[in-house]
Symmetry: none
Subunit: 228 residues, 2 copies
DNA sequence: CAGTCGCGTGACGCACCCGTGACACTCCCG
DNA sequence: CGGGAGTGTCACGGGTGCGTCACGCGACTG
């Protein structure tokens, strides 16, 4: 099975160099020159990993990352971000836009290959995605962005899904509203903590008979019932 | 989910080196230069682990550790203490201030990463000292916000839980009402100290057969029975 | 043994917390 | 351009957690 790597950069030279190095390492590189194409290609080709330059014309890397994470078919693809200056690193990871790793230019292609392998290993081992969660009658298929209650499939919005996923990953442990805001919405988002309540309500509504699994701990936060 | 590590040190060089090594190991380091910032960042970011230098300007590492342990939102975060001299180790562990491990400078970053992984594994397994307290037939599961007496689970309110948690952490030592008011209710709350009595009463009621573990020390305060 | 201080107990009312419905706004897509 | 979906915010209301007070018993003191 060939491993497809999507490389997104606006400089042709960089694409050529990276492409050569990636082929040399046994991967199959595909390319995109701007954000819009990157998203289109990602949806069509379903690459195993994306190397994404932060500085792009039109739609920049952060935006691309956000859009990829939003779409069910691309949300589980690991992203390695390339930034020109170290100062930007903080933004990339700080904003928690979903980049799994990053590198600052200039960097050695060998180093990049190492990081790619690490991300691919993580993705395959599923140690991070824990791609399939099951609690009681609730089944969560993370890569497919699909949720089943018993045999009935239900459709969740992106926010609802992330909220449920995070709670399910930490089942049994109480999560404060602030904690959930950080992990679902990303911190330094000036969002009212009561918004969490509203989304919990919508989640419970859709979960129907399984709603009681989402417990409220008054004065503290919320908890997904069940042993670990 | 990225694993956030808070590194606290007053030397920029040390921060840079450690930051690089931690990133290399797949963690997401965040930083603080002094004790006050460390506490603020820990509360906001909820890191998965804290690497804390003992020698800090203003508020030193021991104090930071103590304060972190006092606050419910940070009390369960593992702490690895860095000390300049071996002689100080004894103080760190001897005083039982809640540090989970320590290293003496100079140390190899590789060794530090190993220790970090060990602490994280313990924390995830839920068997680290901070998160699960057990005294007699009372079991307190902090992450779950759940309490068991024998095999029977009881439900406590947020205030009752914090009160019990603090007493259990300092078992054997008498806590004055003012001390409890500070640590459970927060610093400047104009609250009648007799309120503590009422909550102790409710706690004893819910604890049932285990109520005698909460001892009254007339004229002084309250104490959670038991050595250690 | 009487007086006093400290603590347990029950009751009460306020304040806070959370569930809920409604609404405005922003993206998309037709 | 208009309509629909997704999402963040707000106001409202009910339930309850929680702080306070008064009373009385038990313990310690002189």
């Amino acid at each position: 099975m060939k491993t497809k790597i999507l490389v997104v950069d606006d400089e042709p030279d960089a694409l050529e160099v990276l492409g050569f190095k990636l082929r040399e390492a046994g991967f199959t590189p595909i390319f995109a020159r701007d954000g819009a194409r990157a998203i289109a290609v990602a949806r069509e080709e379903h690459p195993d990993l994306i190397v994404l330059d932060l500085m792009l014309p039109e739609v920049d890397g952060l935006e691309v990352c956000k859009i990829l994470r939003r779409d069910a078919s691309t949300s589980s693809i690991p992203v390695i971000m390339l930034t020109a200056r170290a100062a930007e690193m903080d933004r990339v990871l700080g904003l928690e836009l979903g980049a799994d790793d990053y590198m600052t230019k200039p960097f050695s292609p060998r180093e990049l290959v190492i990081r790619i392998r690490k991300q691919l290993a993580r993705a395959r081992a599923g140690d991070e995605p824990g791609s399939h969660l099951r609690v009681g009658e609730i089944q969560i298929d993370v890569p497919r962005h699909a949720v089943q209650v018993g045999t009935r499939g239900i459709t969740l919005t992106a926010t609802e899904f992330r909220l449920l996923e995070i709670l399910a990953r930490r089942r049994g442990r109480v999560q404060s509203r602030d904690r959930l805001l950080q992990d679902v919405w990303g911190y330094e988002n000036p969002i009212d903590s009561r918004t969490v309540d509203t989304h919990m309500r919508r989640l419970r509504e859709k979960l129907g008979t399984a709603a009681p699994l989402l417990e409220t701990v008054r004065g503290v936060g919320y908890r997904f019932a069940g042993e670990d």
